[in-house]
Amino acid sequence: MAYSDKVIDHYENPRNVGSLDKADPHVGTGMVGAPACGDVMKLQIRVNDAGVIEDARFKTYGCGSAIASSSLLTEWVKGKTLEEAGAIKNTQIAEELALPPVKIHCSVLAEDAIKAAIADFRKKSVQGHPGDHEEPQRLSA
């Protein structure tokens, strides 16, 4: 499998690797994929009171394209509003990274991950007691 230079760059120097405190009310967590399918993405965003994403972190189990897709996504969502971040399409990620057809699903997973993280943040804001959330691994899009 030949990877594009951008995929290799993100894979070798992944941006924003890590975890945010999932109990923090300002943090939204999205976890998508399944180990059996060969990829799992965890994407976290920290949202300020103005509804702007201040920080983003990811961890990904998957191929180089999956790692690159999530790394790129964390760069893109920082500084964006939730609406802007939620409007990111997988095709933009696939195009930026020049993903081959068999790897398009990696970009789809990245889009699902940001949507899931936004949905989690909004759910917490409505509930008002986000710290009680005990089952982060059940979060879904």
């Binding site: 975890s19 060969g38 189990y61 899009a141």
Partner: protein, 406 residues
Amino acid sequence: MSSRRPIYLDYAATTPVDERVAETMFRFMTVGGAFGNPASRSHSFGWEAEKAVEEAREQVAALVGADPREIVWTSGATEADNLAIKGAAHFYQKKGRHIVTVKTEHKAVLDTCRQLEREGFEVTYLDPEPSGLLDMAKLEAALRDDTVLVSVMHVNNEIGVIQDIEAIGNLTRSRGVLFHVDAAQSTGKVPLDLSKLPVDLMSFSAHKTYGPKGVGALYVSRKPRVRIEAQMHGGGHERGMRSGTLAPHQIIGMGEAFRIAREEMGAENERLRMLRDRLWEGLSGMDEVYLNGDLERRVAGNLNVSFNFVEGESLIMALKDIAVSSGSACTSASLEPSYVLRALGRDDELAHSSIRFSVGRYTTVEDIDHTIALVKSAVEKLRELSPLWEMHQEGVDLKTVEWVAH
């Protein structure tokens, strides 16, 4: 090439041609050499080519304890598998149309069986034990009155486990069923004596044993006499079983490679086992590392390891200075985890996390030590990136998680 080439640890995919083999091959191509067509009966060019081809046939037969007349040249093990399975199934179809094989066979066997199913044959695909080995009781239970052929590989290409072909052959002989063995991964690694083994058909490849690609052979037993229907017609070469002008340079390369294997396999296997064990010792010190397949009944050069919580393709990408494979070369272009590991009952995660290391004639101790260091740092890096590793560290049982399947 300007940069240093990666360390080659994929000898189960193919081997470089031994220098001694390449030199011998070259003498059968150019105008100054023995370039003749071995089927030419009217001049010395043909005679000398034929003599060399027959000497190579003797070398191949000698490595496996066969009579040279039992060796049929093919283009490789895939063609030999096709010829054996289709050839026997077609010839004996009046006797029955049921075939038994194993889910961990090479695709050359499985896809050939699928084709026979399309032609109306019935095929039973047996599950191996978690060790990769076949349970004789399950095989016996699968045999029917209309079973004509059992096909079981000797050495598995992915996990290197060695099936007990003597026991399988004794069972098939007692039931009057033909037994085909794909031995592409065996030659030079496991002693074979077909004068004693109850095997009817056996496939060989040159390029897994330091010979050239593009040539192989099929053993067709004479005692008891086994018949197969030709799959390639035109000229009646190879006793009518496989037509087509022979490729002397390839054939002579295979003969020379098998001669070297016969002379050197004892010492070579000891060295490979030492290297393989050194590699396993280095890797098995890490957490959550699993060996796939039985360690005892296994060829010396193979190590198949799953690095839990790390995805195989990304690991191979991190190991760009080492040439290894995830699964077999024939399936590594697909996104499916190894069907061989799945058939052993390995979880999908572990099947997705597997790497096959295969060491060979030119592997050094330095290669192994460098590999251990590279693998360790790559696995550590990818685990830092892995949400599954993080969950594992937090004590989450991944089996209880409801994944959002994609």
